[in-house]
Amino acid sequence: MNEKELKFLTATADKIRLGIVKSTYAAKSGHPGGSLSITDVLAYLYFYKMNIDPNNASDENRDRFVLSKGHAAPGLYSTLANRGYFDISELEKLRKVDAMLQGHPDMKGTPGVDMSTGSLGQGVSAACGMAYFGKAFNKDYKVYTILGDGECEEGQVWEAAMFAGQKKLSNLRVIVDHNGMQIDGTLAEVNSPEPLDEKFAAFGFNVIKLDDAHDFNKIDAAFTAADEETNRPTAIIMESIKGKGVSFMENQVSWHGKAPNEEQCAIAVKEIEDRLAKEAE
C-alpha cells in the first residue's frame, strides 16, 4: 500500500465515521460503538481489497461480505453509501418507518447487503454456505465475514467453525472484532469465549493475529497473508477499540447501543471533520 492509498483510506474511514454518527443521531437509536470499531476494516475491504462493483452488485463472481454482527449496520450502511451502492441521503432515514435502511441488514431491500443478519451467530454460517458454493463451482471469489467477540459466545459460531475447518473453506475469511466488550460489560465480566486464537486453530483455521485494527498497513499485511493460505479457512483476530474515532465513545461499554444526542453529535462531527481537514493538508 503506497502513501496515496493510505491517505485515501484514512480519509474514507473518517467519512464513514461521519455517516455512522449522523445516522444514529438522526435515528435516535442504533449501535455506534461496534460500528466504529470495524470502520477501518470496512473501508479497507470495500475501497481496496474486495472484488466488487456497486454498479453490478449481484455479480455472481463478486467477493461476498456478511456482517455477522448485524447490529453494526450503521457502519456497513455508511460504507456502502460512500462506495456508491445507494444515495448517501438514505443514511438520515435509518431506522425510520418506510426507510430502506433497517435496524439490522436486510438483503432484499438494500443494495450491497449480501445477507440479512441481526440475530448473532447466524451470519457466519451463511458465509460458510457462500464459501462452500464457491468451492463447489470453482469460483474464485472470497467470502469475508465479521463476527463480534461477544458473538463468539454463541454455540452456532463454533458449529460454523467446525464446518469451515472440516470442509477446508480456504476462500473464507472470518474476522473477529476483538474489542473486548459486549453489552453487559467486558467479555471477562460476562462469559468469556477466550482464547479465541487457540479455539479457531483447534477447529482447523489458519489464525492471523492483527494487533491493530486501525492501522491500514497492518490490516493489509494480515489480509495479504490470508491470501497465501490455500488449504484452510482463515480467522483474523483483530484488536480493535470499540467506539474508535470518536474520543468520548472509545472503550465505553455504554456506547454499545445508544445514539448520540444533538450536542454529542455536534462534538463528534467536529472532531471527525477537523481530522479530515488536517488529513487533506
Binding site: 418506510d98 426507510a99 440475530s119 461477544g150 453487559d184 462469559n191
Partner: protein, 310 residues
C-alpha cells in the same frame, strides 16, 4: 403509573429475591434491556450472565431446576422462544421443570431494531408445547403479580413482556390468577378479547365505539394457555361477534386460541386483529402500532367493519 412490563419484571424479581434463596435469574448479555439488572443489583449472588448463548442458558436453567431451584431465564422473545425453542421443549417442558422464560421485547413495539428483533411468533411456538403456561400481562400491576404467581407455580411458564411503557389499567386491589380472564368492561354488541399491550388500546377503542353508539365488552386474556374457556363462551353468547387483538401474528396466537374455543363450543363470528402474517420493519414503536392497526382508531375501524358482517 406508566412503565414497560419489562421494568415490572426486573422489579418483581428483585422483590422475590428476599423470599426465595433458591431463586436464580439468568440472562444472555441483555440484563440492561430485559431489566434483570434490577435483580442483579438486589441479589448478585443468584444472578448468572450466560453471555450470548441462549440455547445453553435454557439448558443450564433446566439443570439448576433439577436441583430444586426456581429459575427465571431471560432474553428478548426472539432469542428465547425463537433461538432456544427446542431446548425449551425438550429440556424444560418435557421434564416439566421449574423454569420460567422471561421474554422481553416481544411484538412490533420493539420499534427501531426492526424485523429480526420483533418476535411475532412466540405465542404460537410456546402454545404448541405441552406443559407450558403462557402469560402476557397488560400493565405494571398485572406484570408484577404475574411474575410472583409464576414463581409460586411449579412448572414451566413463558412470560411475555414489552419494551414500550404502558399505562396502568388495573387498580392496586387487582388480583391476578393464572388462567383466569378479566372482564374490564361490559357491553352487548361485540366483545374485544385482547392480551398484553393492546389491552389498553382496546379499552380506548371501546370508548370511541361508545361515542358511535356501539356497546363493546372488553376482556383481558393475560393467560393464553391454559385459556379461560368460560369467559370466552360467555362473551360469545352475550355479544355474538368476537374480535381478538394481539401484538403477534394472527396465525397461532390469541386469535387462534380463541377461535379453537369458539368453534368447539359456540361457533361465533370471529375477527382477528394482529399482524397479518408479515414481518415487521423499523420505526418508532407508536408509529408502527398505528401502521399495523393496533392503535385505538385502528382497532375501532376493524370492529366497525366486522360489525357490518354480523
Amino acid at each position: 403509573m406508566k412503565r414497560a412490563t419489562r421494568e415490572s419484571y426486573g422489579a418483581a424479581l428483585a422483590e422475590l429475591s428476599k423470599e426465595n434463596d433458591k431463586l436464580f435469574v439468568l440472562d444472555a448479555d441483555l440484563a440492561e434491556a430485559t431489566k434483570t439488572i434490577t435483580f442483579k443489583k438486589a441479589c448478585p449472588e443468584r444472578f448468572i450472565d450466560c453471555g450470548i448463548a441462549e440455547g445453553n442458558m435454557i439448558g443450564v436453567a433446566a439443570g439448576l431446576a433439577t436441583c430444586g431451584a426456581t429459575v427465571f431465564a431471560s432474553s428478548f422473545a426472539m432469542f428465547a422462544a425463537g433461538r432456544a425453542f427446542e431446548q425449551i421443549r425438550n429440556s424444560v417442558c418435557y421434564p416439566k421443570l421449574n423454569v420460567k422464560i422471561g421474554a422481553t421485547h416481544a411484538g412490533i413495539s420493539v420499534g427501531e431494531d426492526g424485523a429480526t428483533h420483533q418476535c411475532l411468533e412466540d405465542i404460537a411456538l410456546m402454545r404448541s408445547i405441552p406443559n407450558m403456561v403462557i402469560v402476557n400481562p397488560c400493565d405494571d400491576i398485572e406484570a408484577m403479580q404475574a411474575v410472583k404467581a409464576a414463581a409460586e407455580y411449579k412448572g414451566p411458564v413463558y412470560l411475555r413482556f414489552g419494551r414500550l411503557a404502558v399505562e396502568d389499567l388495573n387498580n392496586e386491589d387487582y388480583e391476578f390468577t393464572i388462567g383466569k380472564g378479566v372482564l374490564l368492561r361490559d357491553g352487548t354488541d361485540v366483545t374485544i378479547i385482547a392480551t398484553g399491550l393492546p389491552v389498553g388500546r382496546s379499552l380506548k377503542a371501546a370508548e370511541l365505539l361508545e361515542k358511535e353508539g356501539i356497546s363493546a365488552r372488553v376482556v383481558n386474556i393475560h393467560t393464553i394457555k391454559p385459556i379461560d374457556r368460560e369467559i370466552i363462551i360467555e362473551s360469545a353468547k352475550k355479544t355474538g361477534l368476537i374480535v381478538t387483538v394481539e401484538e403477534h401474528n394472527i396465525i397461532g396466537g390469541l386469535g387462534s386460541a380463541v377461535s379453537e374455543v369458539l368453534s368447539e363450543e359456540v361457533p361465533t363470528k370471529l375477527c382477528r386483529v394482529g399482524i397479518n402474517d408479515t414481518f415487521g420493519y423499523s420505526g418508532p414503536a407508536e408509529e408502527l402500532l398505528t401502521r399495523f392497526g393496533l392503535d385505538a382508531e385502528g382497532i375501532k375501524t376493524k370492529i366497525i367493519n366486522a360489525l357490518k358482517t354480523k
